[in-house]
Symmetry: C3
Subunit: 175 residues, 3 copies
């Protein structure tokens, strides 16, 4: 596993919440996720808040993927009528990484059986990794901690820096 | 977590089985699932038996979702040539809830490694939750017990009764 | 559970790797998987090596499914830019078996948390079962061992030999 994030790694935290977007509720999970990423060595962290609208989320994810290596959403993964973050993520992603979502839910189950209701998915678009985190601060933290140690290596792989033949893979990517 | 089902909660149990539909085999799982739901406090429980036909199952699911808050299928989730309940469910559902299916299989694995062959999926259509259960009585019971305590809360969320701001969410839903 | 593979069971091992296809890296996982299948009683085992090209993999899977009862891929399940084995598998499969992939990753997690980065999926096309295994020998072995005891029964089910009414199911299949 890679020792940690490279200094150039850019992250975007996308809070998906009608009430936070409208300003009627404070966004607690976005700042919390930012803190956890900083503690993990990331410095280039942007934040954005969008409402629970499928197209708005998808557009934010696409733009985020152009600007960042890692996009973490928080919110909109549950069963409430307007929760559509996973659907927007699936629309945008080229490849799905089921194992990361499974790992986040498995870790969450130690806290609460309600973790099974998180519909989080993870996937890639270009060389960017997108992860859905739950909207509650506790759920977001538990999910992120469950996969955080894997993310530097995941980004290395995505960017073609494979352990066995990093040069060949980098060359392929440049083509 | 919600204390239990509300008295108005309506459930449909859909047995998917060629042989039960033809009357050549007794449907054991349907009545068993009904018993478990009754013990959990549900009273409005309907039952229906359909053959393993994709379109027939999908139609029954759609109609069930109009009439019930919770639709539980039993049967047709395995690898037999005519097992297509998950495919019908995916056709009908607007949103998939991977975590519930993962939890059902995890619980099943304590009984038998064959639980991994259940292709059950769970999802939502409108404000209705659909769950696939295996066809064997033992598998259906194990799967249902694994998620039953979560269902009242899941239905609350689906119907816009969120814990943090139930009024706002209910208003959104009415629009 | 079935005692073991029938003598007629035919397997194809499909190594997906640009470098093995080009001959610049020895394929270690393909032969290892073949050994494990032989130890499990299979004798009709074919092997093929293809590059990490979506259409090439899909074509090999389709042809493999016509000739074999069990198709095991190794490689191309990770996050590297050219890893597209799961996408090719999803294109070809009629039905997905999430539980087998979940079980492979759960078993892998005991070895390394990086198992969560395997995007392996499993599915069926006609009466053939397709499983994606990771490309590393260790990952391929761990994943295969996690599900190997289930495969004879899975193939029985796929071929309509169900435990409760094998005759009826076989007749259905012949139609």
């Amino acid at each position: 596993m890679s020792p940690g994030f490279t200094p150039e790694t850019r992250a975007l935290i996308l809070t998906v919440s009608d009430s936070s977007f409208q300003g009627s509720r404070e966004d607690l999970s976005g700042p919390l996720v930012a803190d956890l990423l900083q503690q993990a060595g990331l410095t280039a962290i942007a934040r954005q808040v969008v409402p629970d609208e499928l197209e708005t989320i998808a557009t934010a994810l696409r733009r985020g993927a152009e600007a960042a290596d890692l996009v973490l959403t928080t919110g909109g993964t549950g069963l409430a009528p307007r929760d559509v973050t996973p659907e927007a993520t699936r629309m945008v992603c080229e490849r799905i990484v089921d194992g990361l979502a499974e790992r986040m839910r498995s870790a969450g189950a130690f806290q609460t059986p309600l973790a099974a209701l998180s519909r989080s998915i993870c996937g890639t678009v270009g060389t960017t990794l997108i992860l859905n985190l739950p909207g509650s601060p506790r759920g977001a933290e538990s999910s992120l901690q469950a996969v955080l140690p894997l993310l530097p290596h995941a980004l290395d792989l995505l960017q073609g820096k494979t352990s066995h033949d990093s040069r060949e893979a980098s060359r392929q990517k440049v083509k």
